[in-house]
Every structure is written in C-alpha cells, then in structure tokens.
C-alpha cells in the first residue's frame, strides 16, 4: 500500500544516452544506441519489439548484469548495478534460471536464504516461499523436481524466485512466452495485482503485440532504438491505428523512411554525424 505523495514520484528507471556494445573484435556491435526512456513507478511498462531488437540487453542493463554500458542509467535512485539494488530488484531471465535437480520448494528455499539469510529469519523465509509458490499457482507441485515440470511451470518457478523478498522493481524478460492463453491471462492478472496491492513497478518485455494492451505504458523498440514511449491509447490515437500492432508498424515505416533519407544524406556528405532519435 503506497501513499502517493502529492508531487509526481521520480521514475523507477531513468535512462539518457544509454549505449551498449556487445561482441569482441575490432567492430563491436551496437545493441543499444544512445537511447533515452523512463519507467514510471508503480505501473506496468511493456517493452515491445521484434526478436533481436535489444530488449533482453536493455533489461540486463537495468538489472546491472550487462557489461560495456555507457550513458546515464538510474534505477530506484541509484546507478544501475549498485550493490544496494541487488535485493530491491527481482529479475526473471528469458530462459527459466532455476536448478532442475531441486524441487520447486528447495529452489525457492535457497534463493530466499540468499536474500534473507540467517536462522533468525527462517519463519519469515518460510512465509515468503509459501506466498511466492501460491502467487504463481504451483502449491500443488511444490515437491516436484523443477526439471520434471513443463516449460510453462518452470518459467513460473523462475518468476516465483523473483517475487521473493518483496522487490520494488520487477524486471521480467518475456515471462509469458510459450504459455497457453489461460495461464497468460492469469499471469497478467497477477502482474496487475502485484502493482496495485504491493506498489511494485514492473518492466516486462514481449514480442507479442496483443500483450501491449495490458500494460499501462509502452516502450516500443526496434534495432537498438526506442521508437516511442507512450500509453497504449495515446499510441493508437497518435498513429491512427486500431491496435498497438498497427501503430507499431506505422512507426517502423516512418523510421525506415527517415533512415533512408539519412542514408541518402550521408552518401552526399560522408563526414556527417549520426543523429539519434529522441523518444516523444
């Protein structure tokens, strides 16, 4: 239960000129190209874009596990990767990162002990583990080995780990990929419940555009750049699209047209500098 202060709270994530290069060798690839964006507190921000556009890299950068980062990136009032943030952020990688040779409960017990160590905290840990298992609806499978679960169940174990220890920011990398429609709806209901009742900020990525409508805010990404940051309604209105998907495609076409124009301009003056797109 968050008390909303009268003034606008500072954003959970604030990025300016954020650039990430990956790969070794003489020509590293620019995965994020001087991007700027904000993730408002207490809301669900969807990061949408085609596969390979840099969504996972952006999320790893926010969590602080990405190397070769330049630019400004503040997370919960601290520079990304600050040691203090490690217990305040819950992170779910795209592939479920749990121990296949442990049961669901043993997995959660261990990660809970890392977050809240010591014998004195044993009762608190047990309650946190029970709640996390209930949150992802796996109470009936708590004693099953994670490796024996279905793909969707394993990714829910991974999500449960991120829910331990009441994080202020949840970073979820494609948590609903490969899930059936019922589970997807349940998970989205859970995300909304978590933001509303626990005041948690969620940054969630997806390459499925119909999930965009379930987010409060959207970051549309393409080829390492932010195409737009807006609410789903505003985006549809601005692009005159019936759906976010239509709006996204229209923005992509515009961006392509601008890129072509720039390429022509560069061909005329080879020393011309690269412009960066600023989000609106």
């Amino acid at each position: 239960m968050m008390n909303n202060p009268p003034e606008e709270p500072p954003p959970a994530v604030h990025a300016r000129g954020l650039t990430v290069r990956r790969g070794t060798g003489r020509r590293p690839r620019t995965v994020l190209d001087a991007i700027a964006f904000e993730v408002p507190r207490g809301r669900i921000t969807g990061l949408l874009g085609p596969s390979g556009c840099g969504k996972s890299t952006l999320m790893r950068t926010v969590v602080g596990t990405q190397a070769h980062v330049t630019g400004t990136l503040d997370v919960l009032g601290r520079p990304a990767g600050h040691p203090e943030l490690r217990s305040r952020i819950g992170y779910v990688t795209q592939a479920p990162s749990v121990y296949d040779d442990l049961t669901v409960r043993q997995n959660l017990d261990y990660f809970a002990a890392v977050l809240d160590p010591g014998r004195a905290a044993a009762d608190r840990r047990r309650a946190a583990v029970d709640r996390a298992i209930a949150d992802v609806d796996l109470t009936g499978r708590a004693t099953a080995l994670a490796g024996k679960l279905s793909g969707g169940q394993r990714s829910r174990v991974s999500l449960a780990v991120a829910l331990l220890g009441t994080p202020e920011l949840l970073v979820l990398d494609e948590p609903t990929v490969g899930l059936d429609p019922v589970l997807r709806r349940d998970l989205w209901n859970l995300f909304h419940e978590i933001t509303e009742t626990r005041g948690v900020t969620i940054l969630v990525s997806s390459h499925v555009m119909d999930e965009a409508e379930r987010c409060h805010d959207l970051l549309l990404m393409r080829e390492g750049r932010i195409l737009a940051q807006d609410t789903p309604e505003a985006l549809r209105t601005r692009t005159h699209g019936a759906t976010v998907e239509e709006g996204f495609l229209r923005l992509v076409d515009e961006a392509n047209a601008r890129a072509d124009a720039r390429a022509d301009a560069r061909a005329e003056s080879p020393t011309g500098t690269l412009e960066t797109e600023t989000p609106r």
Partner: protein
C-alpha cells in the same frame, strides 16, 4: 562474505547431489574399486602397491572434485542461475566457499572409505598416521575443486569441460612422481614438476607412507597444496563476473 549464505549454498549443492544417487555412488565407489584392482595388479610386489596406492589416495579426490566442480559450475553458468545469483546480494566468496564446503564434505566421505579400505582390507603398509593421509586427501580435494572452478570459466559446454580433464590433470599425473621419481626425469621436466601442485600432493602422501612423525617436508607439501588451492580459488573468483558482455 556471509556465513549463513555460504552454508545455504553448501546445503543447496549437497541437496542437488542427493537427487542424483548415481553420481554419489560413482564418486564413492570408483576409488574403492580402483584401489582393489590395483592391489591385485601388484599382487606379487606389495611394496609397489604401497607407494602407488598411497599416491592414489591423494590423486582420486583431486580428479573427482575437479570433474564434479567443473561440470557443476559450468551448469551454473549456462543455466542462468549464476547470473541470477550474482544479481542478488550473494558474495562471490559465499558461492565459492559454499561449493568448496559441499564438495569438501563429499571428499571426506570418499577418502574415509578409500583410506579405510586400503589400510585395513588391502594391507596398505603406512608407517605414519592415517589422519595425515586424510588431511592430504582433503587438501587435494580442495585443490581439485579450485581447479575445476577456474577451468569451467574457459569451457563453453560440458563437452569442452570434460576435455580439460586430460589437459589439466594428465600432465600433472605424469610428472608427479607416480610413474618415475621426479629427480630422475629430464631436467626441464623435473623443474616443471617442481611447480605443479599435484607433485606436492603425492610427495605429502609419500612422507606419511615412510615416516612415523610429521616431517618438515610433509608440512611444506601440505602448505604448498593448500596455498595453491587458495590461489586458484581466488583466480576462480575473478572469473565470476557480475557484469557479462
């Protein structure tokens, strides 16, 4: 470093192992079977069995823990759990000490079985204290854990990790004095064997084999093995990166 997190990590590693009874059986029974085999290979020359058997009591824990740790940490890296742990408030030293503690405990059980069998059933003739044999075996296990942890950083797959076994362990095995006395080797190889930690592991075992008391050489050997293990553990810690490309 946090004691509770280290213990939680060690307990987790052992819990993972408990779900894999076949690996436990292999880790505990293979040294026992090999020693038995060796005893009857050298049926006609019990002295050879004494020297080789004692050396093997030090080499088994090193090889087993090297293999187990390199695969276990590689799985930790490839499954994403390492990235998750390092994004959490877990110290690198907690993780490494947790692994060393868990596999050290397994090594104690393995060495107890192997040493007990060798001394009381296979007639291994050791002049020194069996506890000193156990101490060297434990330090060797720690060295194996350290080497495995370090090497796993350079393997992209379990296939590669297994190939590091012959690359890292076999040269030490050939030069450690098991097959030929170290001072009788070609001078370059003899000098090389002086800087390889397994040579000291085997020398330490030989000291226990031939002396009733702790000799100065024994102390030097154990200190060298322990220092190497700590050095390689520190190198292994340096390969755990919170930020990866």
């Amino acid at each position: 470093m946090n004691g509770a997190r280290t213990l939680a990590t060690a307990a987790r590693v052992l819990r993972q192992l408990r779900h894999d009874p076949r690996s436990i059986a292999l880790m505990l029974l293979v040294p026992v079977l090999m020693l038995t085999l060796l005893r009857y290979v050298f049926d006609g020359s019990p002295h050879t069995f004494d020297s080789i058997g004692a050396s093997l009591l030090g080499i088994f824990p090193l090889i087993t823990m090297f293999l187990v740790t390199s695969i276990a940490t590689l799985r930790e890296r490839t499954s994403g759990t390492l990235e998750r742990l390092l994004a959490m408030p877990l110290g690198k030293a907690d993780l490494i000490a947790g692994y060393a503690l868990a596999f050290g405990a397994v090594a104690v059980v393995q060495s107890l079985l192997a040493t007990g069998l060798a001394l009381w059933f296979l007639g291994l003739d050791v002049i020194g204290s069996p506890w000193l044999l156990l101490l060297v075996a434990l330090l060797d296990a720690l060295l194996g854990t350290a080497l495995g942890l370090f090497v796993s950083a350079f393997a992209a797959s379990e296939f590669q990790a297994v190939q590091f076994m012959p690359a890292v362990i076999f040269p030490q095995l050939l030069l450690c004095g098991l097959f030929a006395a170290r001072d009788s080797m070609q001078p370059v190889l003899s000098a090389l064997s002086d800087v390889l930690p397994m040579s000291y592991a085997v020398d330490g075992m030989t000291q226990v084999l031939t002396h009733t008391d702790m000799t100065a050489d024994f102390v030097r050997d154990t200190v060298v093995v322990a220092a190497c293990a700590l050095l390689v553990l520190a190198l292994g810690a340096a390969t755990l990166r919170r930020r990866t490309p």
